[in-house]
Amino acid sequence: MTTVAVKTATTKPATMAQALNRAMRDAMAEDPAVHVMGEDVGALGGVFRITDGLAKEFGEDRCTDTPLAEAGILGAAVGMAMYGLRPVVEMQFDAFAYPAFEQLISHVAKMRNRTRGAMPLPITIRVPYGGGIGGVEHHCDSSEAYYVATPGLTVVTPATVEDAYGLLRASIASDDPVIFLEPKRLYWSKSDWSPEAPAAVPGIGKALVRRTGTSATLITYGPSLPVCMEAAEAARQEGWDLEVVDLRSLVPFDEETVVASVRRTGRAVVVHESGGFGGPGAEIAARVTERCFHHLEAPVLRVTGFDIPYPPPMLEKHHLPGVDRILDTVARLQWEN
């Protein structure tokens, strides 16, 4: 390719919300088996407008307002997938997916295994998750630990506009059920991504080094990626050159990229919003310790949300991992017995 960049009208910054919407539109246009369903996804376009215009473009049979019943939505999606459709289910908010957990764990996650591969379920379950938007209780849970603990589920979460499009396309194309966690506070984050010519991104199961560095690795995903990038910038003044790894996919977990990074830097901090006890960071820290023990200059540390029910909005800033807490933790990596 030449280096001449042709600027078109599409250079207007695009949001993650638009990228997600575009991903569904393109998937629906390409494959008539793709059906979007959930509460308020039709005329309203979803409470976050992620499904905006889909019902109008593809009809109510392809983008369906369902009755208000999460187990019913996911259970019906199971039957639809059994018949060869590829349902894309919207769970309105993280905590409202819980009524569907029985369907999720007993059927969605296990159908391929139960039927010895005869009946895979290509269902994408979109879950807006996480805090930082001033939502009241039951609107800000980081529920990824429940999902990653369930064999049979693929769990991905984009942190960039590009990934929102690319990972959602990959999820819809996957023959396995995918929990697609949408960091709702990044819905309105922008980039130069072009909805007209979406660039290809690495698929599910690949982590990406978003910033190279030499002093320590921050391992993170979803809503905490921008926080970690900011922390890495700020750390420069303290003399720390931080590498930042964006997991993108929690299951499968790209151990190789993470291990390679930590072996380079010798230090690691895992950062996520969900609680620390039994959270994904515990698993990652254990794994990194097993594989990088002789390269580590300090124990693997974690910066996570507290082990508390999600706090009321006026207190959430104390709960969520922020730049200062990350920097304080990085400082503790200067390990002296």
Binding site: A71, Y83, G84, R116
Partner: protein
């Protein structure tokens, strides 16, 4: 106290609700009959189709024998568990008989017999209960969903599948089975509601066999009948004698026809009885008396049909013997097949969790492989 007598509810404050508040459907045609619908032993039996009834008879006898054989296999330790359907054979068999080849059956954990009656190889049907795998067959090949252990969870699947088929323009009906206890689950409600709102071609068959393990129907619901529940969703509820295979066949056929012709879902409550214990692990004497069981034994589905058919000269000794002989042959074949040890490969544990094995699973598979090899080595050394 009536509503009118409540403070502040005086007639002067009343106004007619706006149109949106008027009932959307006339409830009367949806309501079940007060008594379970019966054919055998009633004048309605005059119109029985002799050929169909003789087939029903043979299937019932085979079904009873299947139940006996599966229970015996449990006692021999060949099956981990078997939830018997003795007494409920008419429901199980009629459910399978009314479906066309392209239709789908969504059985609950108790409905192995329905799957077998639909034509599934009994050994494949018993894989789950033997314990060598979860589902012993390809659901798409037989159009039988995996037997569902979590109660009522298969009902929304039936709705989704039927809905998908209709969207594709395919002539497919889904028949979903659930017990009386299962009707208390949220998934039952959600499935009924989705089916009615979507007008999905689904038939819900509730087998009210009196108990959910030990809990009697009276402690399960305060509804007049389970069939009444249908009305609240806007679909017809039908109450039928579940031991009367002619009535079952008729009511189920009508519901399937309705679904097939775009008329939407129907819910059927079959009133029947579980003659044997919940499973071999259950002690039924703790929650019910012999008199009740004996009374139901006198209302046996096979005897009901046999009496009707012999009285009408549609079945003779030779016919009865032929049915019994065929059932014996089936039982002998089943015994032989089940007495063969299944060949299991522990490495299968890591298959079909994902389309592509994750690194983690590959690692764990290697660990098990090494353990198996070491064990084999040891065995070799020891001999």
């Amino acid at each position: 106290m009536t509503v009118q007598e409540l403070p502040g509810a005086g007639a002067s404050h009343r106004s007619t609700p706006p149109p949106a508040w008027r009932p959307r459907t006339d409830a009367a045609p949806l309501l079940p009959d007060p008594e379970p619908y019966r054919v055998l032993g009633t004048p309605a039996a005059d119109r029985l189709d002799p050929e169909l009834m003789r087939r029903c008879y043979a299937e019932l006898v085979r079904g009873r024998r299947y139940n006996a054989q599966a229970t015996a296999l449990t006692r021999q330790g060949r099956l981990a568990v078997y939830p018997s359907t003795v007494g409920q054979e008419a429901c199980e068999i009629a459910a399978a008989m009314v479906l066309e080849e392209q239709d789908w059956l969504f059985p609950s954990y108790r409905d192995t017999l329905a799957a077998v009656a639909r034509g599934l190889d009994p050994v494949q049907a018993l894989t789950l209960l033997r314990g060598d795998w979860h589902t012993g067959y390809d659901p798409r090949e037989h159009r039988i969903a995996p037997l569902s252990t979590p109660l009522a969870t298969q009902l929304p699947h039936a709705v989704g599948l039927a809905h998908a088929a209709r969207l594709r323009g395919d002539d497919v009906v889904a028949l979903a089975m659930v017990g009386d206890g299962g009707t208390s689950e949220g998934d039952f409600h959600e499935a009924m509601n989705f089916a009615a709102v979507w007008q999905a071609p689904v038939v819900f068959l509730v087998q009210n066999n009196g108990f959910a393990i030990s809990v009697p129907l009276a402690k399960q619901t305060a509804a007049p009948t389970l069939a009444h529940k249908a009305v609240g969703y806007g679909m017809p509820g039908r109450l039928v004698d579940g031991n009367d295979i002619a009535a079952m066949h008729e009511v189920l056929s009508e519901a399937v026809r309705r679904a097939r012709s775009g008329g939407g879902p129907t819910m059927i409550e079959a009133v029947t009885y579980r003659i044997e214990a919940h499973t071999n692990a259950d002690d039924a004497t703790r929650y019910r008396g012999d008199a009740e069981v004996e009374a139901w034994k006198a209302h046996d589905p096979i005897e009901l049909l046999e009496r009707e058919l012999t009285a009408r000269g549609l079945l003779d000794e030779a016919g009865i013997k032929a049915a019994k002989d065929a059932a014996e042959t089936m039982a002998a074949e089943l015994r032989d097949a089940m007495n063969a040890e299944p060949v299991l490969d522990p490495m299968d544990l890591f298959e079909n969790v994902y389309a592509e094995q994750t690194g983690r699973l590959r690692e764990q598979a290697a660990m098990l492989r090494a353990e198996l090899d070491a064990a084999e080595q040891e065995e070799g050394d020891g001999s």
